[in-house]
């Protein structure tokens, strides 16, 4: 985007207005991925601040090979996963991911009714959530996810399958809200 390019030079020079424009334009999308990966608003806010500092620090290295938003998004994913690793959540994830991490808190699942997919994602384990967000929302391949999370592509596929099944179960009550799929509920039991 041309405006990004113009703002970029000013932002690198430390112009607050240019930095603010970049943040205003991209924060909704960048912060969204941070929030999805974290699953916790307070933690996500802290990590988001780190993410934006990293984006601002790295501005001089942005070469324009990809769109600024894509570049910033990649930083957000990497930084968030690193932050989660640091607080040992990913470490736990990497252990859990070899187990059946999509099956969490089965007793309370019966009473939990998710109103949105974002809310339902909070019921996933950190590992399953990361795989689901990276693949289905962010469009990463299983190979890329494996590289990011230190698991095999096959493990990523397995986790994605389980995560999707879990989410579909948690969101089952939404079946009647879509006229286009009325009558097609329960056609894909797991």
């Amino acid at each position: 985007m041309l405006i990004d390019q113009l703002d970029l030079k000013r932002a690198i020079a430390g112009d607050e207005r240019a930095l603010r424009r970049l943040w205003t334009r991209h924060a909704p999308h960048v912060d969204a991925v941070v929030r999805r990966l974290c699953g916790d608003a307070e933690l996500a806010a802290d990590i988001s601040q780190e993410v934006w500092m990293q984006i601002f620090r790295a501005l001089p290295s942005y070469r324009g090979d990809s769109q600024f938003g894509t570049w910033a998004h990649r930083i957000a994913v990497n930084r968030t996963l690193n932050a989660l690793r640091k607080i040992r959540r990913i470490a736990k994830l990497e252990v859990d991911i070899e187990d059946d991490s999509a099956l969490v808190e089965p007793d309370t699942d019966r009473t939990f009714i998710a109103e949105s997919i974002e809310q339902a994602m909070t019921r996933l384990s950190p590992g399953a959530r990361a795989v689901f967000v990276l693949h289905d929302i962010e469009g990463y391949t299983h190979g890329e996810i494996g590289a990011e999370l230190g698991i095999t592509p096959g493990g990523s596929k397995s986790q994605l399958f389980k995560a999707r099944a879990k989410l579909r179960k948690l969101l089952a009550h939404l079946v009647d809200e879509s006229p286009s799929v009325a009558g097609k509920a329960h056609v894909a039991p797991v």
């Binding site: 943040w23 969204a32 929030r35 988001s48 601040q49 289905d136 929302i137 099944a165 179960k169």
Partner: protein
Amino acid sequence: MSHLSEDRFDQLVSSERARDAAPLNTWESIAQRAREEGLIRDHRTAMWVTPWMRAAAAVLILAGGITIGRYTEGESVATASGEIAADTPPVSPSAPARFSNVDEAWATLERASADYQSASAFLAVNNSRASTAPDSVSIYRERLAALEQLMRATASARENARRDPVINQYYLAALGAREATKQQLGAARPASFRLKGF
């Protein structure tokens, strides 16, 4: 327990993919952190500081040079200023002026600027001892060159801060000093030479 259909679930995922959320932090909190790390630099300050500081340094050097010059010539500053004492009220640095409003401060600043220029012009005409010093021509030429630089710096700074009293003061001071120096240089040169420009 039933499951949401794959189609419906894919619709939800697609919606989630396109959905943006409100930023997790305010810009103020982000900016504060960025400022602490030096990632935000006051743009106007960054543009002003160098010429501003140069202007301040140049004026101080200029004033200091004149003072030292007079002392080394054996003429006290008090004596020199005494020549214009009848027209200029004494200034007491220990008693800073107090202003009741902005207009009053502006008026004082403009008056002080005019006084400075008048004093500079007076000295240029009447301070004949300095103009006859053996190296006065080279000294004035060097000073004129320095003042030209100062003029350019302050003029550039004024482009961004036309109403900044400090920068305006330095600009006017440099302007007055340059004109005075031109006159001094003209007086110090042999009569066969005429200063046509610099």
